[in-house]
Symmetry: C2
Subunit: 419 residues, 2 copies
């Protein structure tokens, strides 16, 4: 028996992220392609490395500003998923006139570049439309249901991941701004709100991955999730925000969070990750929106710290088996939330060390670049790497059609490809 030829990603990576697929390579006639050089490469991570796509909506709609093209190139260099803004107040400034076309073009821009799109969020008290204020609760609920159904259904096939509802822990007791959703949640309860959001989104797009998403990672969120599961509401993933304007949480705390929420047996999505490359926001600020500054510069020291912490953040969470997605919350400092230097690119478009650090992880250490290997006497080659999509083509010709295959987590699989 021959020893199968092997090719493997450079970095070890967490063992539980890896898998092996042994290829049986044949020619068009079905004969094993023995002792033949082939080039194997990874084309996509199964793990979701996302970012916000807010900054590219203009470009996708023909309103690109200077630097947007380059921003888009940087984006797709690292990220395989984009979160697009469906904040109701902005999305539907006047009742019945949603910005559907604009968001559709943005989603298509990403899809055409191999980037999956997520919508954020379908239901939330913050940024609920002002025009809902003063309406009776039944009408508010009905209008909310219709909006969820319209948007989850209207984008089905293009956007198949949604934060179905956002920040429910605080929803009924939210006091920062009058809105029409908080009184509804207060009167009818948190689980009622979650049920309605999931019901409508599920009905409109049965294939969607629907998340509950929150910044409150205390026991309150655990209690809420337990109630939701007891109520028989199906969650596809648990969304955990980790904005860190006030400092990096650290590996131990992150793993502890993941452990606590992993016990529900659902995939964990770290949906909103941010780390500043400048001064930290003071610890006494509770609602991050309360910290409004005109200038919040990115500094060399801050950028070095951000790169270090970002790498540690990703290593810790990619290392946790329950985590399936990390979305960073900022591609560029230009127009960033709160003016905070949380981007991976500076306002002038140049990459910070954090961008390079993340690219090195995602597209180098955890990635199989085009690698030439030789099939064995039986025409076989074993490919070990991060779970994801892969391609194999004959080494003799760089423009030959590639065959594709996948590597699955923890799997020891076989696949046949014809070259």
């Amino acid at each position: 028996m021959t020893t199968t030829a092997r090719v493997a990603a450079a970095g070890a990576g967490p063992e539980h992220r890896l898998g092996t697929t042994t290829l049986q390579v044949t020619d068009a006639a079905g004969a094993p392609l023995a002792d033949t050089e082939v080039v194997v490469e990874q084309t996509r991570h199964a793990f979701t490395f996302g970012n916000i796509g807010f900054d590219l909506v203009g470009l996708a709609n023909g309103r690109g500003e200077a630097g947007d093209e380059e921003l888009g190139e940087r984006y797709v260099e690292v990220f395989n998923a984009a979160t697009l803004p469906f904040y109701w107040r902005d999305f539907e400034p006047e009742p019945g006139r949603p910005r559907t076309d604009e968001l559709r073009r943005a989603a298509e821009w990403f899809r055409d570049r191999g980037v999956a799109v997520k919508g954020h969020p379908l239901a939330w008290h913050t940024l609920a439309p002002q025009w809902l204020l003063g309406r009776p609760l039944d009408e508010v609920e009905q209008t909310l249901r219709e909006r969820i159904r319209r948007d989850a259904g209207g984008f089905a096939g293009l956007i198949d991941t949604w934060d179905a509802i956002n920040e429910v822990v605080i929803m009924p007791v939210f006091e920062a701004e009058e809105n029409a959703i908080t009184p509804l949640a207060r009167e009818r309860g948190r689980i009622h709100m979650i049920r309605l959001a999931f019901e409508e989104a599920r009905a409109a797009n049965p294939k969607a991955t629907l998340l509950l998403n929150d910044f409150d990672l205390s026991s309150a969120y655990e209690c809420l999730i337990e109630g939701v599961l007891e109520a028989g509401i199906r969650l596809d993933a648990i969304g955990l925000q980790t904005h860190m304007h006030q400092g990096f949480r650290g590996e131990e705390a992150l793993v502890k969070i993941a452990d606590r929420f992993a016990r529900y047996g659902l995939p964990l999505h770290f949906t909103e990750t941010s780390l500043v490359s400048g001064d930290l926001m003071p610890r006494h600020i509770v609602d991050l929106n309360d910290w409004q500054v005109d200038e919040w510069p990115s500094t060399p020291d801050g950028e070095a710290r951000q790169a270090d912490e970002l790498e540690r953040h990703y290593r810790a969470l990619v290392g946790h088996p329950a985590v399936e997605s990390i979305t960073y919350w900022g591609i560029t400092d230009r127009g960033a939330w709160l003016n905070a230097p949380i981007g991976l690119l500076r306002a002038d478009g140049t990459p910070k060390p954090s961008f390079d650090a993340l690219r090195d992880l995602v597209k180098d250490e955890w990635w199989l670049p085009p690698t030439t290997t030789r099939t064995d006497a039986a025409g076989r080659v074993a490919v070990r790497g991060f779970a994801g999509d892969y391609a194999v083509r004959p080494a003799r010709s760089t423009d030959a059609a590639a065959a594709t295959f996948t590597v699955a987590r923890g799997a020891d699989a076989e696949a046949s490809v014809t070259l």
Copy 2:
């Protein structure tokens, strides 16, 4: 038409606590007892003014120490309910040998003096028996179920109010001491724990008032309650602890808490209230049990503050329509929890100003003492006062048998009594 004679409690009290019962007084032959002097008095509050009965278990079991008789007299002077300790570790130090008889005698001691008894708690991670450690989860759950059924059932008719389960918000993530309940809660979920406690207690004593009780009054508890209600578990009251070793919460905060938890439409019981009459515990202590001091003296300044705050606490909560019970957590400083001077009596048995302040509220301002009045020409008299039990007897003889009647909150009722 005659104007009905009226008698009313001295203090106004919160309007929603009051009711009026108009008595039709007749003689043994059934004739109206017109223009006759009668003495009306309140005999019991409908509102539960409770305290812990821990300190009187010894006396009730013939092991009274010096001062215990007087302590008992002070107790029944103010309180109409007593919470007795059913901490599993102490109650059943060896498997199968519970201290049932001792607790029964204690409960009977209170019952015989007109004091209702509550048991605390049937399920809790803290003070779970050490002998449960290391057993398989199924066995832990079964043993817990049996203990709940045994004690809730065994005391039925004598103890008809229970904290069915205590501090569930922290239960699955409790880390201060290894115990057999936390892993069960972690594995099977908070709602599972609550369901099993209520199921067993309800089955064993269908007439019992069963509480969920917690010190965590944050959104976490709201989320937990919402999940429990969605799961169809019937709670008879929501238990809210307010230990205030670190300072009085203040009326505004208390009313806000009551408002938040009132929206589930269930009675609110403030189950564990404490205020120190000495130095405050430092704010940085999170688990009160972490503050262990040898001496914690009661001081004149502290006693004045305690009396003031206690009065404000009771006024605020008796003033809230959803509150049906306040239990103070300390009758004497002798042997008090954490050595803290939270008692209403000093270690030497003398009353602090807080005792007098509470007695003045409960048995004076909010109370109708024996009051002589005259029935009208039709033999009628209207009695307005705090909801509760009342008695009426002829004024001509102090030892004549009294007739009893009730005054219900918000009611304008009629009753016939024969004197």
